[in-house]
């Protein structure tokens, strides 16, 4: 018998197996559960129930709004930081950048917990009573705090790649600071914005640890929702997961995330 020839393709087998059992099969299982009832008969019942239940619909809208606000706030904070860092000539640039990324090295749950303690400390003894009930504010604050590095890094990497002579060319041709920003800096940093937005928007829709710990269990986002349903109703849980998948797919598609030539997804710091 001839031994199969070892080729580079052989190296793909472990990953292909992994892909099959942990991505493809679970997806099919979710698809199966989403469109069956307790008796395992095919049904559209869950689909109809989801879109006729105002709580479920409002949860998905809330999730979207929270994710959106988180993303916008993170972008507004990260953009100037990345811009200043990328264009400054300071020698220890990496140290400053590291300060922003450093929190990622500390356990995520610990960080959120610490933030909650801090909020408690501020709201009761310091007389900032409004904080106690500002659940959405605290949730978004926590999410921005957590996901900020994921916004800064891709922005910084993209901006580092913009040749300084382009800014000079813009000024040379008569462009003031505003023109240079809107016509050169912003369009050229767009790939970084897109990848930062994707990396913040998607997790902030599903990461219910933050909303649970900081929102006094008053803030329910779609991730929490799926988690709860999988306690007793796998069929509804699967349906919500499927709908989330479609929402994610649509938002990625709309931001141009499927273009293969955009090599800036993720960072190469």
């Amino acid at each position: 018998m001839k031994l199969p020839r070892f080729s580079r393709k052989t190296l793909c087998i472990p990953y292909a197996v992994f892909l099959l059992f942990f991505v493809v099969v679970p997806m099919l299982v979710i698809l199966f559960y989403a469109f069956t009832d307790d008796a395992m008969h095919f049904s559209f019942e869950n689909f109809i129930k989801f879109f006729s239940d105002p709580t479920k619909l409002s949860t998905i809208v809330y999730s979207l709004v929270i994710a959106l606000v988180t993303t916008v706030v993170a972008l507004l904070i990260a953009y100037p930081v990345a811009y200043i860092l990328a264009r400054s000539h300071i020698k220890k640039k990496y140290v400053v950048l590291m300060l922003f990324v450093l929190p990622m090295w500390i356990n995520f749950v610990l960080r959120v917990n610490a933030l909650r303690e801090l909020f408690d400390l501020l709201s009761q003894p310091q007389g900032m009573d409004w904080l106690a009930s500002a659940n959405y504010f605290k949730t978004i604050f926590g999410m921005v705090y957590d996901f900020l590095p994921f916004m800064i890094l891709p922005l910084y990497t993209t901006m580092m790649k913009i040749d300084n002579s382009l800014y000079e060319a813009s000024a040379d041709l008569g462009g003031g600071a505003f023109t240079t920003f809107t016509r050169v800096t912003l369009p050229l940093s767009m790939p970084g914005i897109m990848s930062g937005v994707t990396m913040v928007f998607l997790p902030s829709m599903t990461n219910y640890v933050v909303s649970d710990m900081l929102g006094n269990a008053k803030v329910t986002i779609i991730g929490k929702f799926i988690y709860t349903y999988f306690g007793n109703d796998w069929h509804m849980g699967s349906m919500i997961a499927l709908i989330l998948l479609i929402v994610v797919f649509l938002s990625t598609w709309l931001t141009g995330g499927f273009k293969a030539d955009e090599n800036v997804r993720g960072t190469n710091l």
């Binding site: 040749d163 002579s165 382009l166 000079e168 060319a169 813009s170 000024a171 040379d172 041709l173 008569g174 462009g175 003031g176 023109t179 016509r183 050169v184 369009p187 050229l188």
Partner: protein, 500 residues
């Protein structure tokens, strides 16, 4: 009314302690094609960037049409730049790149209202005006119909043209070009040289051009500013600079030259290569001078007719002429001629008086600031050298405890004493063994002087220069150590009073 469109007055630019431009002053006439020429790192690009406004001078003034613009930002200056690597906007197509400047611009339009009153408005250019101007600019650079093309689909030469179009479409008073042809191949470069020159004639605006290519500078310019080490070496017409170089650096950098050391023996007479020649430059008798002779100014003849006689070492065909190296005594002279000679042949050479250029030698001795260490050595130029400290006081000697003992019996501790260090041009040697000498540095300049080389070694940290002569051939940028014999280091005290 001054015709000086740009004038630099005592401009200095320093980054921290590093002075890149030192007290540069010159002016540019309106409509001129002026070139800043020099080796890399000579400050030519920095000078250009200060005119463009990207760098601000540390001191001194830049005047545009008599107005001080030294501190004006680039977008407020009526100059445009063609960048070395083009700096085209990658996210715009050709049209948008060229239209960029036009879209930033506002012009005054005068209107008349119903009552016949005139009023002016600051307005942006209309779409139609922009489209027309872009089209015209593309015509000038021979890229008609390229409007919709994206930058990444263009060749280097085409990008170059777009960069030029993007600058000239704004009708600047001055066009700055920073080594614009550096990235093109030779043939393309030659074509663009001619085209740029024609463009200059057609547009009638002032061109300021930066290059390290002497041939490019000679071909294109009305005026050349030769720079080295942040200092202007010579300003003049291409012919003027070629025929009458101000110093050996210019002579060596521009064109080929034979550079020799000579002595003035009388009124318009100079002795070099063992013979006395008539020349046109007047120097004082017995003065040491550098003699520069262009290879094409040396005439070959029979050995009997020649003032100098020598043996042909090599003959190289260069297309339109032969380059013939002739050994004259211990000197090697390079001759250019349309006639060939055989290798090994004995020939005579004559040099007409107008072919001999005398110039003051730049260096006669090396001078440094030094400090005496406790081991009675001297520290200067990033290194430590053994020296004879007894020369500071006649009749003194050093005792076992390293004290200097004066004839009167007084003991001196010279540690930390500041001294002037002088080393002659022939007293320095170098080695590629970094440990062999007192300090190390890189060779920054090599000038062949007929029978020896004049080298300059610059130390890395404090950038002190050692100038000396050697018969050995080295390469520029070689990392070497500097060796100076103990008895060749001449010391003099800076302060006459030494602590006892």
């Amino acid at each position: 009314m001054s015709e000086h469109i740009i004038e630099l007055q005592h401009v200095t630019k320093a980054y921290g302690d590093n002075v890149v431009i030192e007290d540069v002053s010159f002016y540019v006439n309106k409509g001129e094609f002026i070139t800043f020429l020099g080796p890399s790192g000579c400050g030519k690009t920095t000078t250009l960037r200060m005119i463009a406004g990207f760098d601000l001078p540390t001191s001194g003034k830049i005047l545009l049409n008599g107005q001080d613009i030294s501190l004006l930002p680039p977008n407020k200056r009526p100059v445009n730049t063609v960048f070395q690597r083009y700096a085209l906007f990658p996210h715009f197509n050709v049209f948008e790149n060229i239209a960029y400047g036009l879209r930033c611009k506002k012009i005054s339009n005068t209107y008349e209202n119903d009552k016949g009153e005139r009023y002016t408005k600051r307005e942006k250019l209309s779409k139609k005006e922009i489209a027309e101007k872009v089209k015209k600019a593309l015509e000038i650079v021979d890229l008609e119909g390229f409007e919709k093309r994206s930058i990444s689909t263009l060749s280097g030469g085409q990008q170059q043209r777009v960069a030029i179009a993007r600058a000239i479409v704004n009708e600047p008073e001055i066009l700055l070009l920073d080594e614009p042809l550096g990235a093109l191949d030779l043939k393309m470069r030659k074509e663009m040289q001619i085209e740029l020159k024609e463009m200059h004639k057609r547009l009638g605006i002032t061109f300021i051009y930066v290059t390290h290519d002497q041939e490019e500078a000679l071909t294109m310019s009305d005026t050349i500013v030769v720079m080295a080490d942040g200092v202007v070496q010579q300003i003049g017409t291409p012919k003027g600079i070629y025929d009458e170089p101000a110093n050996t650096f210019v002579a060596d950098f521009i064109g080929e030259s034979n550079i020799m050391s000579g002595t003035v023996t009388g009124d318009k007479k100079v002795k070099f290569c063992g013979k006395t020649f008539d020349c046109l430059d007047e120097f004082e008798k017995n003065e040491l001078v550098d003699v520069v002779v262009r290879p094409e100014d040396i005439r070959m003849c029979t050995p009997e007719e020649g003032k100098l006689t020598g043996k042909v070492l090599s003959v190289v065909f260069k297309g339109i002429h032969y380059e013939i190296t002739v050994q004259v005594g211990k000197y090697e002279l390079v001759v250019q001629s349309t006639e060939s000679r055989k290798e090994g042949e004995k020939i005579g050479l004559n040099i007409p008086p107008d072919g001999i250029h005398l110039m003051k030698p730049k260096y006669t001795t090396n001078v440094f600031d030094g400090v005496i260490t406790k081991r009675n050595t001297v520290e200067f130029a990033d290194g430590e050298f053994e020296c004879d400290v007894t020369q500071l006081y006649p009749g003194s000697y050093v005792d076992e405890e390293d004290y200097l003992v004066l004839p009167s019996g007084e003991k001196l501790d010279l540690t930390g004493e500041e001294v002037n260090v002088e080393v002659g041009l022939n007293d320095i040697s170098i080695s590629d063994d970094a440990e062999a000498g007192g300090t190390t540095g890189h060779i920054i300049s090599i000038i062949y002087k007929g029978d020896h080389y004049r080298l300059i070694v610059r130390t890395d940290e404090s950038e002190e220069d050692f100038v000396f002569s050697t018969g050995d051939l080295w390469n520029e940028n070689d990392y070497v150590s500097v060796i100076i014999p103990k008895d060749k280091i001449k010391l003099t005290l800076k302060n006459k009073e030494v602590k006892k």
